[in-house]
Amino acid sequence: MKPFLVLMLSLLSVSAHAADLVKDVRARLVDAPLVRGQFEQKKTVAGFKKPLVSRGDFLLARDQGVLWNTRKPFASTLTLTRKSLSAEQGTGGAAYHLDSTKEPALAAVNELLFALLSGDVASLQKRFKVEGALVGAEGWKLELTPTDAGLARVFKHIHLEGDGYVRQVQLDETRGDSSVITFEQLAQTPPPDATEAERLGK
């Protein structure tokens, strides 16, 4: 009986600690309805010796979605809204469109990417075991391990780092590939222009 009690108490203290951490991280994050910035993505893929590096810019509008514009090494755009995921090559050609109202797995991925980019720790906590620490006066680091079986099939771990904004996301896939995405020149303005608004409206 006694060892069981001790175990229970230690579990309670961990979750109390995790709750504190989440509260602290949320306190350090800027609560912005819109974030823009540049990104750099380094993706390590089986079959490729060097990491695949891509650069571009992005727009996260909390209520509408994410626009992910890759500029180098080639132009392509990815639009992610609550309803759909679509991608398009800059020079026309290849394109695809997925409707998340028909595919809940996609809805879950959408929700996850949203949460990751905006540092929505409360929402992440539903599907991940959250561990981490505060860094310095403004920074923080989180390590997420999926608790949901569906997500565990895709991701082994996800690392998040940031201060007032999320600065780096590292995705370790179960199949072995991994991506590190870093964000720069983050700002809360300007609001979406006409083309962007149209893409997000889809």
Partner: protein
């Protein structure tokens, strides 16, 4: 001679007793409605298909648990699951879990390059090298997403789409570790359970149904707006079993009790009760044994129908006791001998009528026919062989029987008077108008007696889940597996056009999971070319030298596929070899509008080896055809009966014949006036009426002016009326219609027959 017969019959009864013990121990009872449906002699493969589709679902219970939002739906599902798990001796979960999906993905992995959707085929065939390269790069650089394979095993990301197309066959999707779907204003969780017990067990209670109802109550009580929809063969079987056992006890015991009370009133002696009871019990036991021996399994409805047999089988005992009443015990032999000619004639007409029911190719009807004919014969033999030996004491005339016997003299008798002619004319007009108003109806619904709530649940479940219809499908035939799969593909091309027009939602075909070898070869070549271009473009762009993964050099074969983990979803549609050919079934989803059926039927035209099967229409057609055949049989039957009667009674034969004809016509007229449809089962009731109605006339002609014959006829009429009248209470529309036809017919014949009796002092021979 009499003693030898008695001993012989005792030996038969002993054998039947032994058989009965064995029968009830193994209880081979059928509750499946399909077992009652006609066999299709011209197309045994259609039967095989229907049965295979039904067998597969035999023990499945499908539940949808819904609520306003997803968290409440999950909570409702948990509540339902808890209740269902509580009945572990009864139900087990039968959910396709995520590990099954993993296994299926792994199984298909070596053949990935050979599996393309029609859209992918089109795209890969026309895409330029730039487009292919661009797509591969885009997918390569995309932020992480759920990939089923390494990049080089699927550089264009085709695999995901193929699986998505397979998943589109049902509207349920995995979500948070459950099967989810959204529809009709609610979020739903799909639960699949399997019954561990077979549902026929009579009197065992409807335990699966009770558990499901408990789960429903729990969901509705604990989750606001919670709802549970359930369907499955076990629920239907239990409902059928409960209904049948209720009807059996009501009809069977009800008429038995009535008969015994009548016997008591008439004879005030225990002996006739015991002996008539004995003849009934033996009749039923022999009937059951003969049916079990001929058909192997006995259907529950046969028992329900058979319990009405009681009302007919005691006629022989009545005649014996009515004739023997008030006579010295030593006259038993001569009494029996004087009764024999009439009894044999009555038995023959009844048995022939019962057996005529078996002309229709409905296994259920054939069972009932054999059951009734055997039971009637056994009751007759018991009376003839045993009654004179067992009935030894005195049997004085009671005041009840005396008064009743005398009543025949006060019964009106038809004569050539103004009044009779006038009533005859009025009756003729009423009958003619009634028959003119009669409307035939031959739909399948008359065979179903399932409770309305089960049918409603089944419909809702079908709508929400987009389940394929088991009643309408395409049967694909070929000389080889390869040909079947290729023909299926040709059919699908035509169907795709209708799906695009939203005529119906989609289909489920084996060839979607197992393309023909030729198709696999084509697809492998197509994807090899496109992916080589894609890999080359990525190689040029990244300066690295990735290689496309290798796939199985051999095609996926039917035997390998069917033994693999991915075949579970589709195995029931692969019929394999039947006779000389090979067959598969292509099922249709979202077929809600019967008006589109002709368009589907048209699709099969001009396609070799494709046959459109519409079970509902086929059975309705069959019901209508046999309604007409049986109608003709009745006319022929009356002519045959008239000839038989003439042979025995000469010019007076019409007196036994006309009441039955009038009874039949009046029954039809009453159905017409009441707006009740004329169906096969009404007609079958009239067939039986033909056999039994003339019995009364026969007895009255055999023993003219004999009060005891009238007493026996009256007793027989009342008891028959009771048993078939009770059959009119049946919840199965077919049995009800049958019972009502019998009831109306019997009553009118019973009232009319004495009106046609011989004038006093006249005799037929």
């Amino acid at each position: 001679m009499a003693n030898k017969l008695a001993i012989f019959w005792a030996l038969v009864v002993l054998a039947v007793g032994v058989h009965q013990v064995q029968f009830w121990r193994s209880a081979r009872l059928d509750t499946d409605v399909l077992a009652l449906l006609p066999e299709d002699e011209q197309a045994p493969e259609v039967d095989a298909a229907t049965r295979k589709l039904a067998d597969d679902a035999g023990r499945q219970v499908v539940l949808l648990v819904g609520a306003q939002d997803w968290p409440s739906a999950q909570r409702a599902a948990d509540e339902a699951t808890r209740v269902l798990s509580g009945a572990a001796d009864l139900l087990e979960p039968a959910m396709v879990d995520t590990s099954a999906l993993d296994q299926a993905v792994d199984f298909y992995r070596p053949y990935r390059d050979r599996l393309l959707t029609p859209a992918q085929r089109q795209w890969l065939a026309r895409a330029t090298a730039d487009e292919l390269g661009g797509t591969a790069l885009m997918k390569l650089y995309q932020p992480a997403g759920a990939q089923l394979t390494d990049w080089n095993a699927d550089p264009l990301g085709l695999w995901q789409d193929w699986w998505q197309a397979r998943a589109a066959e049902t509207s349920a999707r995995p979500r948070d570790g459950r099967m989810w779907l959204s529809g009709e204003g609610r979020e739903w969780v799909l639960l699949m359970w399997k019954s561990k017990v077979s549902a026929f067990a009579l009197g065992d209670g409807s335990r699966v149904t009770a558990t499901v109802e408990q789960a429903r109550a729990k969901v509705e009580a604990t989750v606001p707006g919670g709802r549970l929809v359930a369907a499955g063969v076990p629920l239907y079987a239990e409902a059928a079993a409960a209904q049948a056992s209720w009807e059996m006890s009501t009809i069977g015991f009800g008429s038995l009790a009535a008969v015994l009370i009548l016997v008591w009133l008439t004879f005030r002696s225990l002996r006739p009760i015991v002996l008539v009871g004995l003849s009934l019990t033996l009749g039923c036991a022999v009937a059951l044994s003969v049916t079990a021996l001929v058909f192997e399994r006995v259907h529950l409805l046969t028992l329900v129908f058979g319990s009405s047999l009681v009302g007919v089988a005691e006629d022989y005992g009545f005649h014996y006791f009515a004739a023997r009443q008030g006579k010295a015990p030593s006259e038993r032999g001569p009494v029996m001998r004087s009764l024999l000619p009439g009894m044999v004639l009555a038995l023959v007409t009844s048995v022939v009528a019962y057996l005529a029911l078996g002309v229709a190719p409905f296994p259920g009807l054939r069972q009932m026919a054999v059951f009734s004919a055997a039971g009637l014969t056994a009751a007759f033999l018991t009376v003839v062989c045993w009654f004179p030996s067992l009935d030894t004491g005195a049997l004085p005339v009671t005041s009840f029987s005396e008064r009743f016997s005398a009543s025949i003299t006060r019964w009106p008798r038809i004569a050539s008077t103004k009044g009779w002619w006038l009533s005859g004319a009025v009756l003729t007009v009423l009958v003619a108008v009634g028959i003119w108003k009669l409307e035939p109806r031959d739909d399948l619904r008359q065979l179903q007696g399932a409770p309305a709530n089960l049918i409603a649940d089944q419909r809702e479940l079908g709508r929400l889940l987009g389940l394929p219809s088991p009643a309408q499908f395409f049967l694909v035939q070929g000389d080889s597996d390869e040909q079947v799969l290729a023909r299926e593909a040709a059919l699908k091309t035509k169907l795709d056009a209708l799906v695009a027009q939203k005529v119906f939602a989609g289909y489920r075909a084996v060839s979607d999971w197992l393309p023909s070898e030729a198709q696999q070869r084509e697809d492998a070549a197509l994807s090899a070319r496109a992916e080589a271009l894609a890999v080359a473009a990525v190689s040029a762009s990244t300066g690295e030298a990735p290689t496309r993964a290798a796939f199985s050099p051999e095609p996926l074969t039917p035997s390998h596929f069917l033994s693999g983990p991915a075949a579970g979803a589709i195995r029931q549609q692969w019929l394999g070899t039947l006779g000389k050919a090979r067959y598969s079934v292509l099922m249709l989803r979202g077929l809600n509008d019967p008006k589109v059926l002709p368009r589907l039927e048209e699709v099969a035209h001009g396609l070799e080896g494709i046959r459109w099967v519409d079970k509902t229409a086929e059975i309705s057609g069959l019901l209508s055809r046999y309604r007409r055949i049986m109608g003709g049989l009745i006319v022929a039957g009356y002519i045959a009966v008239l000839l038989t009667l003439v042979a025995r009674f000469g010019r007076q034969a019409w007196r036994a014949w006309v009441p039955s004809v009038l009874g039949t016509l009046l029954t039809l007229a009453i159905f017409g006036w009441a707006g009740a449809p004329l169906q096969l089962f009404t007609v079958l009731g009239l067939v039986l009426l033909l056999g039994m109605g003339v019995d009364y006339g026969i007895f009255l002609l055999e023993h003219p002016g004999d009060g005891s014959a009238w007493l026996a006829v009256a007793l027989a009429g009342v008891s028959t009326l009771l048993s078939f009248g009770l059959l009119g209470l049946s919840a199965t529309p077919a049995l009800r219609s049958f019972g009502l036809a019998m009831l109306l017919g019997e009553v009118t014949i019973w009232i009319l027959t004495p009106c046609f009796r011989l004038p006093p002092g006249k005799a037929t021979h």
